[in-house]
C-alpha cells in the first residue's frame, strides 16, 4: 500500500514486537462516506457501551423524534442513548446483541417513519462561557463514548483534570480492513481538530498531537490543510510507521513519548489523555449543532461485500440490513470489528452499537477458520511479536494447564489481547482464546474469594462479639462479688461466718444468673446476625 512520505513533526519511538498483516484498506477507503437507507426497525441496545446499562425512559407506543433521549445514564458508568431516527417505540425487550457471548439483552426497538425528523436541538457554541462540569454533562447527555472500539463513556475519561498536559488524537487505525477514521479525516479533518480543541479547552488548552500511521497519505494531507485553515499551528502531526498494533493506546503512547503507561496505571499518570478521531467529531457536533450521537461511520468490507466502503449508520441498524444493502449473500464469516481483535457475530440480526467500527463480510476462505492446532514448539515467534513484551508461549502453557497463578506470574493481565501472538504462531494455536479463558476464570475466582473472605470476616466478627459479651459479664459479676465481700468485711469480724455463708450464696446465685443471662443474650445475638 502507498505510504505517506510526510515527515513526522515529533520524534517517533518504537514499541516491542508488532506485526505486518495484509492491510486490506484499499477495498473500502476509495469512496466517500455515504448514507444508508433506513431499515424498518432499529434495535438500540441499552448496554451499547462499556460499563452499565442505560435506563430507558420511553414506553412502548411512544412517538419519538430523531435525537430524543430514550435512555438515561445510570449516573455511575453509562451515558445517554437517543433515538437514531424518528418513529414509534414498538418494543422494549431482550434481543440478541452485538457481543461475542451471543446473549440477549435489553433493547429499545423503534419502528422508523420515513421522515427522519430531528427533535429540537440545543447547540452550545459558547464553550468558553461554560463551566467544566457543564461541558462534561453535555458530553454525557449527548451520549458520547470512545468510538475507537472500546466505547468507554467519554465524560468519565475526561473527568480527571489535574496533571494533564497533552491530548493525543488516535488516528492510527492499525487494524486491517478498517478505514472509517481514515475517511473521516479525509473528509472532515477540520471537524476533528475542532473537536480536539474543545477537549483541549477542558484542560486550559493543552498540547495536541495527532498520531497517524503512514499508510494514510490522504488523511495526513487533509490534516495539514485543516490545521492551516483553522490556524491551529500548535497541533503536531506524528506519523508512525504502519505496524499493528500501533493504535493500541499503550503502544501509541510509547510511539509518541517513548514512555510506558505504568502497570495498573492510566495514561493520565503520564499527563496524557487519548481520544479517537470519530469521538472528536462527535464532540464537535454535540457543541456546534447540539446533535447527540445517533449514528457513526462504519466500514463495510470483506470479499462477500459487493459495495465496500464507509457508511453513516444509525445505531440499532441490524447487520442483516447492511448485508442486504451490500448484496452480501451468505458470507463465510461475519466479523464485527477488525480481523485482529473483532469477534464473529453470533447472529446477523444484531444492531450496530457505538463500538462498531467495521463489519467484515468475509468470503468463505477469506479469514482463517478452525485449524488443527499443533503443539507449541516454543519457537518464540509469539514472544517476538508481543507488543507488551510478554512470553505468550509461557502464558499459553500455564493457561492450558489451568495453572492460573503461574500465568499471573507471567503477567497475564498485561496482555491487551491484540492477537499478534496468535497471528504469527506456526502451530496455529488460538492463543488469545486461552488468555481470555484464563483471565475470566481468575476474575471469577477472585469474586468468589472476596465473597468467601467477607463471609469469613463476618463469622469472625460474630465470634468476637460473643466472646466480648461473655468477658464483660464475668467482669461485672466479679466486681459485684468483690463489693459484697468488702461490705461483709466492714460489717465486722463477728459476722465473718455469716458473711462467708452469704458470699457463698451470692456466688451460687450469680452463677445461675450468668447462665440464664448469657443464654438469652446469645439468642438475641443470633437473631441479629441473621437479620444482618
Amino acid at each position: 500500500m502507498e505510504r505517506s512520505n510526510y515527515k513526522s513533526e515529533i520524534p517517533i519511538f518504537e514499541f516491542h514486537g508488532g506485526i505486518h498483516p495484509k492491510e486490506h484498506k484499499l477495498e473500502s477507503n476509495q469512496t466517500p462516506i455515504q448514507k444508508i437507507p433506513l431499515p424498518q426497525q432499529l434495535a438500540i441496545n441499552l448496554k451499547g457501551q462499556a460499563g452499565n446499562r442505560s435506563l430507558p425512559i420511553v414506553n412502548v407506543g411512544d412517538k419519538v423524534l430523531k435525537g430524543q433521549v430514550i435512555a438515561e445514564s445510570d449516573g455511575i458508568f453509562s451515558t445517554f442513548q437517543h433515538a437514531p431516527c424518528s418513529g414509534t417505540v414498538v418494543a422494549i425487550e431482550k434481543r440478541p446483541i452485538a457481543h461475542p457471548s451471543g446473549l440477549d439483552d435489553l433493547c429499545v426497538v423503534i419502528e422508523t417513519d420515513s421522515k427522519d425528523q430531528w427533535c429540537e436541538l440545543f447547540p452550545k457554541k459558547n464553550i468558553h462561557e461554560l463551566e467544566r462540569a457543564e461541558i462534561l454533562a453535555h458530553i454525557c447527555e449527548s451520549g458520547i463514548v470512545g468510538l475507537g472500539g472500546a466505547s468507554f463513556p467519554t465524560h468519565i475519561k475526561l473527568k480527571r483534570e489535574s496533571g494533564i498536559d497533552t491530548l493525543i488524537i488516535n488516528a492510527a487505525e492499525c487494524e486491517p480492513y478498517i478505514t472509517c477514521d481514515d475517511r473521516l479525516l479525509q473528509e472532515r479533518a477540520a471537524d476533528v481538530l475542532r473537536g480536539a480543541q474543545i477537549i483541549s479547552h477542558l484542560y486550559d488548552d493543552i498540547n495536541i498531537i495527532v498520531g497517524i500511521e503512514d499508510n494514510k497519505p490522504n488523511a495526513i494531507d487533509a490534516l495539514v490543510d485543516a490545521r492551516k485553515q483553522l490556524e491551529m499551528d500548535t497541533v503536531k502531526i506524528a506519523v508512525v510507521p504502519t505496524k499493528y498494533p500501533s493504535g493500541g493506546e499503550k503502544q501509541l503512547i510509547q510511539l509518541l513519548t517513548g514512555e510506558e503507561v505504568p502497570h495498573g496505571g492510566l495514561p493520565a499518570d503520564l499527563g496524557l489523555v487519548m481520544h479517537n478521531v470519530a469521538t472528536c467529531v462527535a464532540i464537535y457536533e454535540a457543541f456546534e449543532f447540539g446533535k447527540p450521537l445517533v449514528s457513526r461511520v462504519v466500514t463495510l468490507t470483506g470479499e462477500a461485500c459487493q459495495k465496500p466502503g464507509n457508511y453513516e449508520v444509525p445505531f440499532g441498524t441490524p447487520v442483516e440490513h447492511l448485508m442486504s444493502f451490500c448484496n452480501a449473500t451468505n458470507p463465510g464469516v461475519l466479523v464485527m470489528g477488525g480481523p485482529m481483535m473483532g469477534f464473529e457475530l453470533p447472529n446477523p440480526k444484531v444492531g450496530i452499537v457505538k463500538a462498531t467500527n467495521c463489519i467484515i463480510m468475509a468470503a468463505p476462505k477469506e479469514l482463517k477458520h478452525d485449524h488443527l492446532a499443533l503443539p507449541c514448539i516454543r519457537c518464540g515467534a509469539c514472544m517476538d511479536a508481543c507488543p507488551a513484551s510478554l512470553l505468550p508461549q509461557q502464558l499459553y502453557w500455564h493457561a492450558k494447564a489451568d495453572e492460573f497463578e503461574k500465568a499471573e506470574e507471567y503477567d497475564l493481565f498485561d496482555c491487551i489481547e491484540c492477537g499478534a501472538c496468535a497471528y504469527v504462531c506456526p502451530s496455529d494455536i488460538p492463543l488469545v482464546q486461552y488468555y481470555r479463558y484464563a483471565k475470566s476464570t481468575i476474575r471469577n475466582q477472585k469474586v468468589e474469594k472476596t465473597k468467601a473472605d467477607k463471609a469469613r470476616l463476618r463469622h469472625e466478627a460474630r465470634n468476637e462479639r460473643l466472646e466480648r459479651v461473655k468477658r464483660e459479664k464475668a467482669e461485672k459479676h466479679r466486681k459485684a462479688a468483690e463489693a459484697r465481700r468488702k461490705a461483709a468485711e466492714a460489717a465486722g469480724e463477728d459476722d465473718a461466718k455469716k458473711a462467708a455463708v452469704a458470699a457463698a450464696l451470692a456466688r451460687v446465685k450469680a452463677k445461675k444468673a450468668q447462665q440464664d443471662d448469657s443464654d438469652t443474650k446469645t439468642e438475641s445475638n443470633d437473631q441479629k446476625d441473621t437479620d444482618a
Partner: protein, 358 residues
C-alpha cells in the same frame, strides 16, 4: 466454543514449513559430508528418516492421536535427519535404527510428544549410541583425499548392512589413511596424541590436521555455518543461541589456549572441528528443548559452548556437543523462569520486586 475467536488473520507459516527450512539449510554441510566421507551419510539419512516415520506413525496410533497431520509436521523427520548427520558414515544399520527409534519413543513421546520433551531427542539418541557402542560411534573415515581405500556407494551399502565391503574386506581397511595408519577425526587424533605426551606443535604436523582443523572437517563446518546463517537470515532460528554457543566456545578455549597453547587447542580449531557448527546452528536451536526467552537463550548457548570445550579437553570422549546440549536442557525451566523479559509498564522485572503499587 462454537464461535471462532480473534484474530482471524493468520501469518502463513506452519511448523512443517519451518522444519523443511531446517532440512534445506543442512544441505551445504551435507554435501561436504558426502564429498569427504562418502555416501554412507546418505544411506544413514534414508535409514534414519524411514525409521522415524514408521516409529512416529506407530506411536501415534498407539497413543490414539491423529496420525497424518502430526506425522507431517516434520518434527520427527528433523530429529532423524540431524541425528543421522551426526553419525559416522559407515555405522551398522541397526545402530542407526535403534538410535532413531529410541529418540522418537523415549526422548519425545514418553514425555508427551512434540513440545513437551525436556531433552533434545536427536541428542538423546546420539548419546545412547555413543555410550552403548563407543567404538563404532567414534570410527570415522578419513576424508576422501587422505583415504587409502575410498569407499564407493555400493561398498558403503555393503559395509552398513553387512559389515564388510562388496569384496568382503573388513571395515578396518577403509579407515586407513594414505600413510597406512588408521585415521581418526582431528579432535580424536589430538586427544590420543596428547595423551601419549606429544605437544600440539608436533601433532599439528600430522596429515589429519590441516587448515582450521582438519581437511574435510573444516569444510563440513563451513557448510553448516553457511546453512545456519541462512536460517538466521530467514528468521527460522533466533541468533542468540548460535552466537552464545560460539562465543562460549571461544571464551573457554581462549582461556585454556592462552594459558598453555602447547597443550590446549586454539579457539579457531574448536570452532571448525567436530560437530561445532551443526550443534550451534541446528541442534542447540531446537526450540522445544532450548530456553525460550532472549536472555535465557544467550545463557543456554554460552553454557553449551563452555561445557563442550571442557568435555572435549578433559573428558573421555573426543566430541561433546551432545553432552553439553543435554546438560543445558536440564537448566531450561529455571532459565526460562529467571529470565523473563521486562513487561510493558513494569519498571523492573517482576522477580526483582513487584511494581504493582497501584
Amino acid at each position: 466454543m462454537s464461535l471462532i475467536s480473534s484474530p482471524f488473520a493468520k501469518k502463513p507459516t506452519s511448523v512443517t514449513e519451518l522444519m523443511l527450512w531446517v532440512i534445506f539449510a543442512t544441505l551445504p554441510g551435507l554435501f561436504a559430508l558426502v564429498y569427504f566421507f562418502g555416501f554412507g551419510v546418505i544411506i544413514n539419512l534414508i535409514l534414519a528418516c524411514a525409521t522415524a516415520l514408521v516409529t512416529e506413525a506407530l506411536i501415534l496410533k498407539v497413543r490414539q492421536r491423529p496420525v497424518l497431520p502430526i506425522l507431517f509436521d516434520g518434527s520427527a523427520l528433523v530429529t532423524a535427519w540431524l541425528l543421522a548427520l551426526a553419525l559416522p558414515p559407515l555405522l551398522p544399520w541397526w545402530m542407526t535404527v535403534i538410535g532413531v527409534a529410541f529418540a522418537i519413543v523415549f526422548a519425545k513421546h514418553v514425555y508427551g510428544g512434540l513440545g513437551n520433551n525436556l531433552f533434545n531427542p536427536a541428542m538423546v539418541g546420539y548419546v545412547l549410541l555413543l555410550i552403548s557402542f563407543p567404538l563404532e560411534m567414534t570410527s570415522w573415515l578419513p576424508p576422501a583425499e587422505l583415504a587409502q581405500n575410498p569407499v564407493n556407494f555400493l561398498d558403503a551399502v555393503a559395509y552398513i548392512f553387512t559389515g564388510t565391503s562388496m569384496a568382503g574386506e573388513p571395515m578396518t581397511a577403509t579407515r586407513l589413511g594414505v600413510d597406512g595408519f588408521t585415521m581418526a577425526t582431528p579432535l580424536d587424533h589430538v586427544k590420543t596424541e596428547l595423551a601419549q605426551g606429544y605437544r600440539l606443535a608436533e601433532i599439528e604436523k600430522d596429515a589429519v590436521i590441516s587448515g582450521l582443523s582438519g581437511s574435510g572437517w573444516q569444510w563440513v563446518n563451513i557448510g553448516f555455518l553457511a546453512g545456519g546463517l541462512f536460517l538466521m537470515f530467514r528468521k527460522v532460528i533466533g541468533w542468540q543461541i548460535p552466537a552464545g554457543v560460539l562465543l562460549g566456545m571461544i571464551i573457554m578455549s581462549f582461556v585454556l589456549f592462552a594459558g598453555n597453547s602447547d597443550h590446549y587447542l586454539s579457539p579457531s580449531f574448536h570452532l571448525f572441528a567436530g560437530a561445532t557448527m551443526l550443534g550451534a546452528f541446528f541442534i542447540a536451536t531446537d526450540p522445544v528443548t532450548a530456553s525460550t526467552t532472549p536472555k535465557g537463550r544467550w545463557i543456554f548457548g554460552l553454557g553449551i559452548g563452555v561445557i563442550t570445550v571442557i568435555i572435549r579437553t578433559f573428558g573421555g570422549y573426543p566430541d561433546a556437543i551432545a553432552f553439553a546440549v543435554l546438560l543445558m536442557n536440564m537448566t531450561v525451566p529455571m532459565l526460562d523462569y529467571y529470565t523473563k523479559p521486562k513487561v510493558y509498564g513494569h519498571k523492573v522485572k517482576r522477580q526483582q520486586g513487584d511494581t504493582d503499587a497501584h
